[in-house]
Symmetry: C2
Subunit: 275 residues, 2 copies
């Protein structure tokens, strides 16, 4: 999906919500836990319930890999289902990959190749290994790399805030250096909602780039703060909620409740988009 | 595998060689490319040919994921085969994972759990997300996290050598800070052979930790240099070679040639171990 298509979708649905499909069998409604294809059926129900309020879906690979090869079969079914829908959605493999150049090429093939098992629109990447670990992801037309800049967890303070080069933090250096590796048309950044006050510094370096913002909801980030400091003329934000939506209930009404939570966020987002 | 078991294995085989099972179908011998289970059969032949000269095997996940779900089936068969052998080997998932705490727990389960599909001894992890992204990997008894410190690629110079805190490089800060997250009994570090002269600085911070050293061979690193600066009383090194061994030939003699290359490295290693 190109940048313009994504922007159009955001305006059409009046939403910049991304639903995190982080499926943990122990948190799924009981009636689906032992069902064959239960994980896919759960995802399908969540997608059907939320797609009118949502522009993106983000499965975190860890949750699928934890179920072994069967977990990846469930992920493939989920992606096949998303691709089969008439209503489009931007799809993000939250995989936090990155390796030496010839190896990153293989990861790009695994997740972004239209002929591969998954055909995601975007993939999250860790920046530690530098340019050649990131660039192989930028060669697929209409596909995206989403580079970790400032993450939403406590551990972010271990290295990301280290001062490097006269008062610049490491995360700012990552934002700055990576400008040479891609453009606002094929590169986004992860900036955690739990650090919304940092968005001013982020926007000073990447005024036009889309930001993928996790941490609203269960992790404590505030949508209002994120919008105040992060919104651009083109929106420029994808705000993720995982647990707050997909586990809004673990009963028979899980999809209904997920829809209600997504709708609530969408209505707030519509107001911010109007401003 | 515990640290003492690994050290014993190194002395027994007089080797600290790790064979990188980075299987690319296009580089495999032609007669195996279209064979069902060709990737597994290739790995099996390489393992059988090299295990007497080798203490560790390191499949890089990217190569398997690039083949889709079928690639992971081939990896599982390879791991099942390794676990079935009487001759032990240390197994490393070169996956470069890492995510917020509750998500890293899922990756740990995916790769290290004895009841999972793979049951690796160790997993490589990127440090950018800090403590809570790494610690979930240290809770499995006899299992290891291998943290990226200094990688073998050009992109390593983008961030890893940035000066942070009075003349310390970022990679040194990673080595230092991570001492609080694990011990020499459950944490190793990746230090690229292409930067062997940096091993003195590395050893000043982690005198006892095992180092996983990629980059000997195809990437240009020198075994002599690595040993000169990196060997400890307990050996403390696992030196990886991938392409130089597994693609020594792409003809019918590939296993024989892989054995010859591994044997050559083992003989050199035996000499360094005696010193």
């Amino acid at each position: 999906m190109t940048r313009q298509e994504l922007i159009n979708l955001i305006h059409e649905r009046q939403s910049f919500l991304c639903v995190g499909l982080d499926v943990d069998k122990n948190k799924m409604p009981e009636h689906l836990r032992n069902e064959p294809d239960g994980v896919f059926l759960f995802n399908k129900a969540i997608i059907d319930a939320t797609i009118d309020y949502t522009v993106a879906y983000k499965p975190n690979l860890a949750f699928y890999e934890a179920m072994g090869i069967e977990g990846l079969v469930q992920l493939k079914k989920t992606m096949d289902y998303l691709h089969s829908l008439e209503k489009p959605a931007f799809t993000i493999a939250d995989a936090k990959r990155g390796d030496i150049g010839n190896t990153s090429q293989q990861y790009a093939k695994a997740f972004l190749d239209p002929n591969g098992d998954f055909d995601f629109d975007a993939l999250t990447i860790a920046p530690y290994m530098g340019a050649d670990s990131v660039q192989p992801f930028t060669v697929y037309e209409g596909k995206w790399v989403i580079l970790l800049a400032l993450t939403s967890n406590k551990g972010a303070f271990d290295f990301q805030f280290l001062p490097v080069e006269s008062d610049k933090h490491l995360f700012e250096k990552v934002l700055e250096t990576s400008q040479q590796w891609g453009t606002a048309d094929n590169m986004m950044y992860v900036v955690g909602a739990t650090k919304a006050d940092m968005l001013t510094q982020v926007r000073a370096i990447v005024p036009d780039s889309f930001l993928l913002v996790p941490g609203v909801g269960a992790q404590g980030g505030s949508l209002e703060e994120v919008c105040k400091y992060g919104l651009t003329r083109d929106c420029g934000l994808l705000v993720n909620s995982s647990r707050g939506i997909i586990y809004a209930s673990n009963g028979l009404d899980f999809a209904e409740r997920a829809a209600a939570e997504a709708h609530k966020l969408q209505q707030q987002m519509a107001l911010y988009l109007k401003k």
